[in-house]
């Protein structure tokens, strides 16, 4: 079947809307792989993310998202391959550690510390610590400095953890499921203050989630990880522009599939709905088909259902 064909997308750079100062590569992984006790959590991941992006890192549970992020944060070492942040390999060197901030899944903090003591912790352990920024953020959020961290609500704890990560003034902020276990209000608040921090500091952010809808408006880059491999990596606007939902007669579906890669094919009776990768410059001039745009969520779901299909912004030979 043609639908089995692997799709590779060319280009995918930053486009003219990204200011030139941000054209550096924030994150680059080359053939990155990690094995735990004989099981590959991550296999052969190669990708790069331009600076200044907010990256939605999605994938089903157990896809290897946490492993990837922990590798980027330097918490674990890869079995094979390499990760670079702004051109420098990650690892146990003070300069490398200072560039990346990491927010672990359960947002650990020292429960017995007061909020002020957590700030002091950040201050002592980070030469680039921005105390004014931290205090201002916490004041805006009405989080009392003299309260014990363990006595704060889940949302407030997440805010304190985020504040410590941001006040470190990293170039790259890595967040492993920052919205997990938070109520909808706290989720929105976290995203609001995260976006404000991004506007203020121009840092690059990678945040993982298995809920795409939480990230739709906040992220401008999409990375999809499935079964330990990168399935999609690209700019959200370009990805959305390169995919169409085609509806038309079922008997003509095979003909369309022969001309362009079909990511998702659902047919019911005489009607066929095809999510296709039109690619740049390709269009379908057939009045019997109606084309409509796809949402980020539809796109991600379609790809996740087809783990053999990829869309990656690098020139690669088309393989089977």
């Amino acid at each position: 079947m043609t639908a089995d064909r692997t799709v590779r997308m060319f280009g995918g750079g930053c486009g003219e809307l990204t200011p030139p100062a941000q054209s550096a590569t924030a994150l680059e992984a080359v053939r990155l792989a990690k094995r735990y006790r004989g099981t590959w959590a991550l296999r052969d991941c190669t990708l790069s993310v331009p600076a200044g992006r907010v990256v939605a890192f999605v994938g089903p549970n157990g896809a290897g998202k946490s492993t990837f992020l922990r590798l980027v944060a330097g918490l674990i070492a890869p079995t094979r391959g390499s990760v670079r942040v702004f051109g420098e390999p990650v690892g146990q060197r003070a300069e490398a550690l200072a560039r990346v901030a990491f927010l672990a899944q359960d947002k650990p903090l020292y429960d017995g510390f007061t909020v002020a003591e957590m700030l002091r912790f950040g201050h002592h352990l980070n030469p680039g610590w921005d105390d004014a920024l931290a205090r201002q953020r916490l004041a805006e959020l009405d989080i009392p400095l003299n309260r014990k961290v363990g006595k704060l609500s889940g949302g407030q704890q997440a805010q304190v953890a985020l504040t410590i990560a941001v006040a470190k003034r990293p170039d790259l902020l890595v967040m492993d499921g920052p919205l997990a276990n938070l109520d909808p209000v706290a989720r929105h608040d976290i995203m609001r203050s995260l976006m404000a921090a991004v506007a203020e500091t121009q840092m690059t952010v990678v945040l993982s989630s298995h809920v795409v809808s939480d990230l739709t408006n906040a992220c401008d880059w999409l990375m999809v990880l499935n079964r330990g491999q990168v399935q999609i990596s690209g700019e959200v606007d370009e990805l959305l522009a390169a995919h169409r939902m085609l509806s038309g007669p079922a008997e003509l579906a095979d003909e369309v599939a022969a001309r362009m890669p079909v990511i998702n094919d659902s047919r019911s009776g005489r009607q066929a709905d095809l999510l296709v990768h039109t690619g740049p410059g390709t269009s379908l001039h057939d009045p019997r088909w109606s084309a409509s745009g796809v949402s980020l969520e539809e796109l991600v779901l379609a790809y996740l259902r087809r783990p053999d299909t990829t869309s990656l912004p690098r020139p690669t030979l088309t393989t089977t």
Binding site: R192, M195, A196, A199, N217
Partner: protein, 130 residues
């Protein structure tokens, strides 16, 4: 200060929604030349959207000549939108209100009126092209 709202179900790209809302505010006179648009940080900390999206919308507006960005100070309205003098606006609005009243008298509901307006607008646009 202008406050943006997002309609997630509209299907319109977020940055375009922002552009439309600024233009709408310019038309209604909510925004006047010299007014400052909310900063990118203010918008994103309100809506939880990507700063690049706001920047893109502001660049679009700047490109179209509606606003001007002054580094370190903010983005300011340069000119208003909507033809005609304010006096004309008042008169036309009064006429339209009367017309809407007529429509209601004739038994048209909200949807009917909207459809009618859209149809007339489309026809007039066609005439414009022709």
């Amino acid at each position: 200060m202008l406050k943006f709202r997002l309609d997630p179900s509209s299907g319109v790209a977020t940055y375009l929604q922002l552009v439309h809302q600024v233009k709408h505010a310019l038309r209604l006179g909510v925004l006047m030349p010299g007014d400052r648009l909310p900063t990118i940080k203010e918008v994103v900390s309100d809506l939880a959207i990507n700063p690049n999206t706001v920047a893109k919308a502001y660049r679009e507006l700047e490109h179209e000549g509606f606003v001007v960005g002054r580094p370190g100070m903010g983005t300011f309205v340069r000119r208003s939108l909507g033809g005609g003098a304010t006096a004309d606006h008042t008169r036309l609005r009064r006429d339209l209100a009367r017309w809407v009243h007529d429509c209601r008298e004739a038994g048209l509901d909200h949807g009917d009126i909207e459809a009618l307006v859209a149809m007339v607008l489309a026809d007039s646009a066609q005439e414009g092209i022709a």
